[in-house]
């Protein structure tokens, strides 16, 4: 199967790879997937508490090229967004941007889950 140029670009030059301090109250962490399924995504956001804007986003992903590209793209989109706007990101937007084939749609679903899970973690830490 051939990958789209955008997938290859994100795979070869992944944006925002790394780790934020998961103990910090301004950081939300989402860990989704399972090793036996072949996909694990960890996506983290750092939120400016006053404005509610996402200042930083980092990821690490165990998975295929499409999974890595989906999470890399997600971190790019998250930076500078408000939490509410971030919650509105739909997996089909990722599918379209990366031109994912049908068998790889689950990678985009996982990225959407990771975003929602990170926001949930941030909100529960801060009683929101």
């Amino acid at each position: 199967m051939a990958y789209s140029e955008k997938v290859i670009d994100h795979f070869k030059n992944p944006r925002n790879v790394g780790t934020l301090d998961k103990e910090s109250s301004s950081v939300g962490t989402g860990l989704v997937g399972a090793p036996e399924c072949g996909d694990v995504m960890r996506l983290q956001i750092e939120v400016d508490k006053e404005s509610g804007m996402i200042k930083d986003a980092k990821f690490k992903t165990f998975g295929c090229g499409s999974a890595i590209a989906s999470s890399s793209l997600a971190t790019e989109w998250l930076k500078g967004k408000s939490i509410d706007d971030a919650l509105a990101i739909d997996n089909m937007e990722i599918v379209e941007e990366l031109a994912l084939p049908p068998v790889k749609i689950h990678c985009s679903v996982l990225a959407e889950d990771a975003i929602k899970s990170a926001i949930t973690d941030y909100k529960s830490k801060n009683g929101l």
Binding site: Y3, F62, A67
Partner: protein, 407 residues
């Protein structure tokens, strides 16, 4: 821009056609176009003679009579013919077949069909090293068992089964021994009479011959075995396989068998050194590397390695412009399930999805192995940088204790 280096280490998928084979085939496309079944003119005689010669070359490789070689379109057809053909032919003797869970789909799916046709099939587990336990095999034999079907060498792991012991067991119980020897013929010695195999399926394109031609060895003496044809037509191949013979393909197959007979020992010796070099370099350079399957009873040119905490398809993407291999990762299979062969060895899904199969071949060079070591090592390091479970593993977190959000 120069062309990227292209290293082919997927010889278990298919081998390149040896140029010597191609040269032998070429005249049979235009200059000698005859149908081997045309008995009334020189074109047909030439074709028949060429087919007979190739049949001798293939029979020599197996140390059998040329009358025992049935040409087919490939190993899948040979497996189908052997299994379904014997099931039909020996229906009066019984309807039970024993096979292994690690067999190729051509065998497993033929067995599934046989079950639909009223047969009974036992799919035995293998041990952790990929080999069958002979006691468990014998225990599975029943009064209505007509055949055991066990592959000579596994396509994913290269693990070689205890063929002679299985053959002895079949002889003791008076049942047929069928073997899918697709990965073994032309690479290691495969003499069916020596180990007691009665039906042996194999193909040309795994031994440096052309695609689209295979064969089934059918024992003619002690015991005389017959299979019911699965294709109806002109009654070619002693009535067991109708259809105009693929003369250029068969000529190439014969030449490939001739070359293999002369060169496979030297090829195996050279390739096992290169394979071991590759395997040892990974073990030295990279942490958490595991070789899957028995390493003592194994094809000389194959290694199946799990690079833990790295997903196989993603890993391949780091080097697939330069090195061609295959993976047991779920993402690479049509079924989206991790390799059933590795799962049958008792490996967890996480090990199966991290596996890469390297299969070397006659044209693999040491320089290519050196480059592969570098490219794959870099790829594993890149993927581990990206892997959250590698980070967790390094932090000492017990990954088995984590409650994963399965999807």
């Amino acid at each position: 821009m120069s062309k990227p280096i292209q290293i082919y280490l997927d010889n278990n998928a298919t081998t390149p056609c040896d140029p010597r084979v191609v040269d032998t085939m070429l005249p049979f496309f235009y200059e000698m176009p005859g149908n081997a079944a045309s008995r009334s003119h020189p074109f047909g005689w030439q074709a028949e003679e060429a087919v007979d010669y190739a049949r001798e070359q293939i029979a020599d490789l197996l140390a059998v009579s040329s009358k025992e070689i049935i040409f087919t379109s490939g190993a899948t057809e040979s497996d189908n013919l052997a299994l379904k053909g014997a099931f039909e032919m020996y229906a009066r003797k019984g309807n039970h077949i024993i096979t292994l869970k690690t067999e190729h789909k051509a065998v497993l799916d033929s067995c599934k069909k046989i079950e639909k046709m009223g047969g009974e099939v036992t799919y035995l587990d293998v041990e952790r090293d990929g080999r069958v336990d002979l006691n468990k095999l014998e225990a599975a034999i029943k009064p209505n068992t007509i055949m055991i079907s066990i592959m000579w060498a596994n396509n994913e792991t290269g693990v070689i089964q205890p063929m002679k012991e299985i053959g002895d067991l079949c002889a003791k119980h008076g049942i047929l021994f069928m073997s899918d020897a697709t990965q073994a013929v032309g690479k290691i010695k495969t003499h069916p009479k020596e180990v007691g195999v009665h039906l042996l399926a194999f193909t040309s394109h795994k031994m440096y011959g052309p695609k689209g031609v295979g064969a089934l060895y059918v024992s003619r003496k002690n015991p005389r075995v017959k299979v019911t044809s699965q294709l109806d037509g002109g009654g070619h191949e002693r009535g067991m396989r109708s259809g105009t013979l693929n003369v250029p393909g068969i000529v190439g197959f014969g030449k490939a068998a001739y070359i293999a007979n002369k060169e496979m020992e030297a090829d195996a010796a050279r390739l096992s050194v290169l394979r071991d070099k590759l395997e040892n370099a990974f073990k030295q350079n990279i942490e958490e590397v595991y070789v899957n399957g028995n390493t003592e009873h194994r094809m000389p040119h194959v290694t199946n390695i799990s690079f833990k905490h790295v997903e196989g398809e993603g890993l391949m993407m780091t080097f697939n412009q330069n090195v061609a291999v295959s993976s047991g990762s779920a993402c690479t299979s049509a079924s989206l399930e991790p390799s059933y062969v590795l799962m049958a060895l008792g490996l967890g899904d996480d090990m199966a999805v991290s596996s890469i199969r390297f299969s070397l071949g006659r044209f693999t060079t040491e320089e290519e192995i050196d480059q592969t070591i570098k490219l794959i090592t870099d790829g594993v390091n890149h993927m581990r940088e990206l892997s959250p479970i590698w980070e967790m593993f390094k932090e000492g977190i017990d990954l088995d204790a984590v409650e994963w959000a399965e999807h």
